[in-house]
């Protein structure tokens, strides 16, 4: 407990340095700016802005990236409410009642409550990160290679249990990602694997080109082939101030949403989307008059928006303590850390206390900045919603090109970007979710390393994964998850959840 308080105090002193405050502000604003643009979700926002952080030192870079992340989420809720266009799954729920409120001329209060809820949730979940992360890191530091391998298996399977679409296809995407992740020089033997003599692939396939290709370029091709939708009609949001009655109605929902979100964000695969769905369901169940939901119930905005922000922040816990990304956004964060030469895992807290606590504290500062700056800026964000797609996408292409080239100075990485752009479009057209591919891609080398170490330590006995108690427990959990997916009742429930 004292550790956490001391840590936060230390973190605040790091995060409040002028440079880091600036990165935090820049990240939150840039994240909102790009996240508000129609058709640009948090994943693409982070991938696009990742090269911007490349010249910073790691702490500043991660502070800025975290700011971009919650800024992008904030931007997503703005488009959901005013335009009925969710940037990503976690704000799909916000559309339901948020847009209904906007149509009734109550868009302003919906935006305000979403921002207030996000801030309250952010405050609570920052506390939870500060308190739980050291505990979890303390446990994780005792993990052996076999335990780590099993943990990653669990993390990968867990991350797709709640994904939309076919489970087998998501699993196949993970495995394809693992294969791509293994391209390059093998650290143990020095052998160049699957590089086909291309020297530029000796260090492996670039992370930024893969992320931008699959999530940026592939998506652009998909949109250009289909119906190009322009900004659409933005509904005037009216006065921002919620009435006293609206505030009272949302306070309970904000509190519940924060707790639900903080808890679900910890789970692999949990993350923001699940939290928002869960919170909406809870609010609807608790409401005296559930029929209001879908017709502009403010609780239906306050709860899910708090929950997704809380979950977004607690999902940093598995990342920073175990090195395990629970969703594709966190996989991008791992990629960013590794670009800066930092291996995520339980040692981060001791080896890089400035980084860890600075980032945790900056989350809270960033949320405070968002509420102060963004509500008055809503008019500006709304104007961005009107940018036609035909101006937007060439900008995305150009920023991707310069970003990719700037990070590596390698023309070959642009070939990689194009190839993965094509792949991203093909996969999406055939209804393969590309997000799990990125998870596998990031985890591939780490899984291999731990597999090899475990086999060396066990003298070639593969049953080590079942004999080590932690590893066994993790694998049993994985098995239960897989069984749950395959059992028909759960599958039906899962479909129902997404149908709602």
């Amino acid at each position: 407990m004292m550790d956490s308080l001391g840590g936060i105090a230390h973190g605040l002193s790091i995060a409040a340095s002028p440079a880091n405050l600036l990165y935090c502000l820049a990240g939150a604003l840039l994240g909102t700016f790009v996240g508000v643009l129609p058709g640009v979700g948090p994943l693409l926002t982070i991938a696009l802005l990742l090269p911007f952080t490349f010249s910073l030192e790691p702490t500043g870079a991660l502070i800025m990236l975290a700011g971009i992340y919650y800024g992008a989420q904030y931007g997503g809720s703005t488009t959901s409410i005013l335009l009925n266009m969710p940037g990503e799954t976690s704000s799909v729920v916000t559309c339901i009642d948020g847009h209904a409120m906007a149509r009734q001329g109550r868009g302003g209060p919906a935006l305000a409550v979403a921002a207030i809820g996000s801030f309250v949730a952010g405050t609570l979940s920052t506390g939870i990160v500060a308190f739980f992360a050291p505990v979890l890191a303390g446990v994780a530091i005792r993990f052996g290679p076999a335990d780590y391998f099993s943990l990653m298996v669990l993390g990968l399977v867990g991350a797709i249990v709640l994904a939309q679409g076919s489970f087998v296809k998501a699993l196949a995407m993970i495995v394809l990602g693992l294969l791509f992740g293994l391209v390059g020089t093998d650290v143990n033997s020095g052998e160049q694997r699957l590089t086909f003599g291309i020297q530029a692939l000796a260090d492996g396939i670039g992370f930024v080109p893969v992320a931008l290709g699959v999530f940026g370029i592939g998506e652009i091709i998909r949109i250009l082939i289909g119906q190009e939708r322009d900004g659409g009609r933005v509904i005037p949001h009216g006065s921002l101030m919620p009435s006293r009655q609206e505030l009272r109605a949302s306070s309970g929902a904000i509190a519940r949403g924060s707790v639900i979100g903080s808890a679900l964000g910890l789970l692999p695969g949990g993350g923001a989307a699940l939290a928002a769905f869960a919170s909406y369901t809870v609010e609807k169940k608790l409401a005296r008059d559930p029929s209001r939901f879908g017709r502009g119930a403010i609780e239906g905005v306050a709860g899910p928006e708090s929950a997704n922000n809380a979950a977004a922040q607690t999902s940093f816990i598995p990342l920073l303590t175990l090195g395990l990304p629970s969703n594709a956004v966190m996989a991008l964060m791992i990629g960013a850390l590794m670009l800066h030469g930092i291996t995520p895992g339980p040692r981060i807290m001791q080896a890089e206390p400035d980084l860890f606590w600075g980032v945790v504290a900056s989350m809270w500062i960033g949320n405070a900045m968002l509420i102060v700056l963004n509500l008055p800026l809503v008019g500006l964000w709304v104007r961005l919603l009107r940018v036609p797609y035909r101006f937007l996408y060439p900008t995305i292409v150009l920023v991707s090109c310069i970003g990719v080239y700037g990070v590596s100075n390698s023309a070959f990485d642009l070939v990689t970007t194009a190839v993965f752009g094509l792949l991203g479009w093909v996969l999406q057209s055939l209804r393969f979710e590309p997000a799990p591919l990125l998870l596998g891609f990031v985890l591939g080398p780490m899984m291999e390393e731990n597999l090899r170490r475990a086999m060396i330590l066990s003298r070639g006995d593969p049953t080590v994964f079942l004999r080590e108690p932690i590893s066994l427990a993790l694998l049993v959990l994985t098995g239960l998850l897989l069984a749950a997916i395959i059992l028909p009742t759960v599958r039906r429930n899962r479909e129902r959840v997404f149908a709602e």
Binding site: P51, F52, F54, S55, S166, V168, L171, A172, V175, L176, L178, L179, D186, S189, E191, R193, L194, I217, I220, I221, R222, L224, I225, G226, E228, Y389, R390, F391, Y393, P394, T395, V397, L398, V399, S400, C401, I402, Y405, G406, A411, L414, V415, A418, G421, L422, V426, Q428, S429, L430, R431, F432, G444, M447, E448, L451, R452, M455, I456, G460, P462
Partner: protein
């Protein structure tokens, strides 16, 4: 009808994944030592991954054969003819940027990339493309090179 298309798609994509896995697996086993159980070689993990890919691709293909499609798809599908113009122009723009940036410098390469990708949309007017190229080719490099200090060459250097 739609479900039929979807089933064929699943069958084909499953088979493609399985084939990719098989090809990669065969290549890996032929090229890199698998090592021993105690000392896994550089081929071991890739071969394992390729094997799993074959199995999963097979499952997807078989399910595509047997399972009823879940209603109509969202009309996506792999429409290669419709993709030719947007995909060709966008990917071409990226490749051109990569080929030219070192030689021409970042501002001219940016203008070319913007013009190429802007042509991919049927809606864009010619005058808009010129304006967009002019603005972006200056603004974006200014941001990256000027403010963020990326070490990129701005203009072509004369030898």
């Amino acid at each position: 009808m739609a479900s039929n298309i979807r089933r064929t798609e699943d069958l084909a994509s499953g088979l493609a994944l399985a084939a990719l896995g098989a090809a990669a697996g065969a290549f890996i086993v032929a090229s890199y030592p698998l090592g021993t159980a105690r000392q896994l070689g550089p081929g071991a993990m890739p071969a394992l991954v390729a094997l799993i890919l074959v199995v999963l691709g097979g499952v997807i293909a078989v399910r595509g054969l047997w399972e009823q499609g879940h209603g109509a798809g969202d009309g996506a599908g792999l429409d290669l003819r419709a993709a030719l113009r947007p995909a060709g122009l966008i990917l071409g723009a990226i490749l051109l940027f990569g080929g030219l940036v070192d030689w021409l410098g970042v501002v001219p390469a940016s203008a070319i990339a913007v013009i190429g990708s802007a042509l991919a949309s049927r809606r864009t007017r010619k005058r808009e493309i010129a304006a967009l190229a002019a603005v972006l080719a200056v603004a974006v490099p200014a941001l990256f090179v000027g403010i963020l200090g990326m070490p990129l060459r701005i203009w072509p250097t004369l030898h």
